[in-house]
């Protein structure tokens, strides 16, 4: 190939660069810098002279592309006006009531009756019960339920779990319950004094898989006999109604069990976090339940039942992670060490930035899964992606929250240690709620 001007120049430069005269005269660095600049400006000269640009059709104003007239609901993450108002109301309740009560509720291992009745006044349960049963729900809305879960957990995850547990039972009964089950149980959730209730799904064994339950339900005439142990059952101490998942001859099933059913025992083990919801284990020692109390007809989708619960946990973890974020950012900007705010240290700034990125990623995955569930599309895969990310990153955010506060983080005076303990729950929680 014949050499052009640049080619000659480059080869001349290469020769200079190769010669050891430079080293002898101690000029190598200067020469290398010079050749670098020469080659760069040389290339620039060629590219600007190879084409002449002219205005062909003079435009009066610039042409831009606008947003599509009709947005596809797939990635439209805008919430409706109604959802915005619900968020405002729930968020206010969470920050003004739940956040204030959090320390006491954690210490006393109980969500106070006052908080529960204030939550009832907010009408959270009514929102899960259809209008025909004195509720206020006109359509299924897992997305709204998810936003509620997130905002409640922004105030306090433990109390949020206490409030969401009965709402989950109501949601499950609305979604899967038979006419008889609905008229027996569901209407009480719309009343003035809604029952405390919870779903019992998790089991105390390594690598728990909700699709492979060790709790069994054996058919005996018109009854089922349930045998096994459940863990992390919220409100266990005073719940009046449990939905217990158990393995039957025809796959996993869920059974409505009332408090006071013989041979149903509540454990005394208390977990590290979520103490306001006092999760306990539940032992079923040949508990006899009527076959009419098995949830759902043939259309019962156990997989969706589990996944909607898992997504509710994701939403709660997002809310509490957001609480951590909103706490550490001003703290790091105000807390001074070595004469400057600690956020000036890169190790701190990068950690906070990572937390923000991970939190948004958690939110996007979860919102996507729940919005697919709301649209009636398959969401099993999306739910699992969300859970896998959330259980990892929410725990990291909890740990980092404590870390960023240094010695303060390890004391009860600051809420981050409680958030850390609460967020750890996402690693063991699987289902057990319902959007």
């Amino acid at each position: 190939m014949p050499k052009d001007a640049i080619g000659y120049a480059l080869s001349a430069l290469n020769n200079i660069a190769r010669s050891d005269i430079l080293d002898r005269l101690h000029l190598r660095t200067t020469a290398e810098n010079l050749s670098y600049h020469l080659t760069r400006s040389g290339f620039r000269a060629i590219s600007t002279s190879s084409r002449a640009f002219k205005a062909a059709n003079p435009l009066k104003k610039p042409q831009r592309l606008h947003a599509p007239g009709q947005t596809t609901d797939y990635f439209d993450l805008n919430i409706t006006d109604e959802q915005r108002m619900i968020r405002d109301s729930v968020r206010d309740f969470a920050t003004e009531v739940l956040r204030e009560e959090a320390e006491t509720a954690d210490a006393e291992q109980r969500t106070s009756d006052t908080v529960m009745s204030q939550a009832a006044e907010l009408g959270l349960n009514l929102f899960a019960v259809p209008e025909a049963l004195e509720g206020a729900a006109t359509e299924r809305s897992p997305v709204t339920s998810m936003l509620v879960a997130e905002d409640l957990a922004y105030g306090d995850m433990g109390q949020a779990l206490s409030i969401l547990a009965p709402m989950s039972v109501a949601n499950a009964l609305t979604h899967w319950g038979s006419a008889q089950q609905q008229s027996t149980y569901l209407n009480t959730f719309a009343g003035e004094n809604p029952p405390r209730a919870a779903i019992a799904l998790c089991e105390p064994r390594p690598l728990f898989d909700p699709m492979n339950l060790t709790t069994t339900a054996r058919r005996e005439g018109d009854n089922y006999i349930l045998e096994g142990e459940k863990s992390l059952v919220p409100l266990a101490e005073d719940a009046e109604l449990f939905l217990v998942a158990a393995c039957t001859a025809d796959g996993p099933g869920v059974f409505i069990i009332e408090r006071g059913t013989p041979r149903l025992y509540i454990g005394s083990d208390s977990p590290m976090g979520l103490r306001a919801a006092s999760p306990r284990s539940l032992k079923l020692d040949s508990v006899r339940v009527s076959a009419a109390n098995r949830l759902g007809d043939r259309d019962f989708d156990y997989r969706a039942f589990v996944d909607l619960g898992t997504l509710a946990w994701c939403a709660m973890a997002i809310g509490t992670s957001q609480a951590v974020m909103d706490y550490v950012v001003p703290y790091c900007n105000e807390r001074k060490a070595f004469g400057e705010p600690i956020s000036y240290r890169q190790s701190v700034a990068f950690m906070v930035a990572d937390m923000a990125i991970e939190l948004d990623a958690m939110r996007m995955l979860t919102y996507r899964a729940v919005s697919r569930a709301e649209q009636g599309r398959s969401f099993q895969r999306e739910a699992h992606l969300a859970r896998t990310l959330v259980k990892d990153k929410a725990m990291t955010i909890g740990t980092n929250g404590v870390q960023l506060l240094g010695g303060h983080g390890y004391t009860h005076e600051y809420p981050v240690e409680r958030w850390y303990r609460d967020l750890r729950a996402i690693g063991v929680a699987f289902g057990g709620l319902h959007l």
Partner: protein, 249 residues
């Protein structure tokens, strides 16, 4: 009895307000807006009057751009029966707001008007008083207690040095102070119902009022940051500083 409640859309009280670089005002881009806290108290008071069986209808009214419908929906979710929006994108100052509200009062003929004593954006504390004057109604401002007794309303007012109780003939204008009540949270079912309640939109021209600003904002500035305090070694030094530096004793 019909109660008219005026509400205003302002920057949410939790937001840290930023001044625009050119000092012409505060930055409203991407800032969370909410109902003025004093207006929330006014809505709550009206709803309580309805719950007591004294008020029969609550009409919420606001003046502002189209988006201020959000605050009317909030008022409806809190318990108002219907809403009127006076839609305008122009700046509306106290006197113009009072004139527009007067036109609404003429049309609606409420027995009681309840509104916030001031909005937390401009802090003027004028509209209620101006409305009372324009509409020829008695006024009970800075109310910490409101009691309707037949054709009269007894208003306990928070004033310097104590409480003053006035009795007003209805119809009257009452403006709310912070301690009048603690507003409730809008319940989810009521938020759902709010969508179905009527919301009427009118323009200032429909009311025969033309907004004409009489005040010009010259400059908006951030308040001076507070100077950090100092530590003194002894009482003598403290007294010396108070006397000679601060000159307060």
């Amino acid at each position: 009895m019909k109660v008219l409640v005026a509400v205003k859309r302002v920057i949410d009280y939790n937001v840290k307000v930023r001044v625009k670089p050119d000092n012409t005002g505060v930055d409203l881009a991407n800032v969370k807006m909410a109902m003025n806290p004093f207006c929330e108290i006014a809505v709550e008071e009206a709803v309580r009057l309805k719950e007591k069986g004294i008020a029969s209808e609550i009409v919420a009214v606001t003046i502002g751009p189209k988006v201020s419908q959000e605050q009317l929906r909030t008022a409806l979710a809190l318990g108002a029966d219907r809403a009127i929006q006076v839609e305008t994108d122009d700046e509306v100052q106290s006197l113009d707001a009072a004139k527009m509200l007067k036109a609404v009062v003429d049309k609606e003929e409420p027995n009681l008007v309840i509104m916030g004593k001031q909005s937390i954006d401009t802090d003027n504390n004028q509209t209620g008083q101006m409305l009372a004057q324009l509409a020829g109604m008695p006024q009970g401002t800075f109310a910490s207690e409101v009691e309707v007794e037949g054709e009269k309303v007894k208003v306990t007012r928070e004033i310097d040095g104590g409480l003053l109780t006035v009795s007003l003939n209805l119809p009257a204008v009452v403006t709310t102070d912070l301690r009048l009540n603690e507003p409730r949270y809008a319940s989810l079912p009521n938020i759902m119902k709010a969508k179905k309640k009527p919301l009427e939109t009118v323009s200032p021209a429909d009311l025969g009022v033309e907004a004409a600003p009489r005040l010009k904002t010259l400059k908006v500035e951030e308040p001076q940051p507070r100077q950090p305090g100092i530590k003194v070694e002894s009482v003598e030094e403290l007294v010396d500083k108070l006397k000679n530096e601060a000159k307060v004793i």
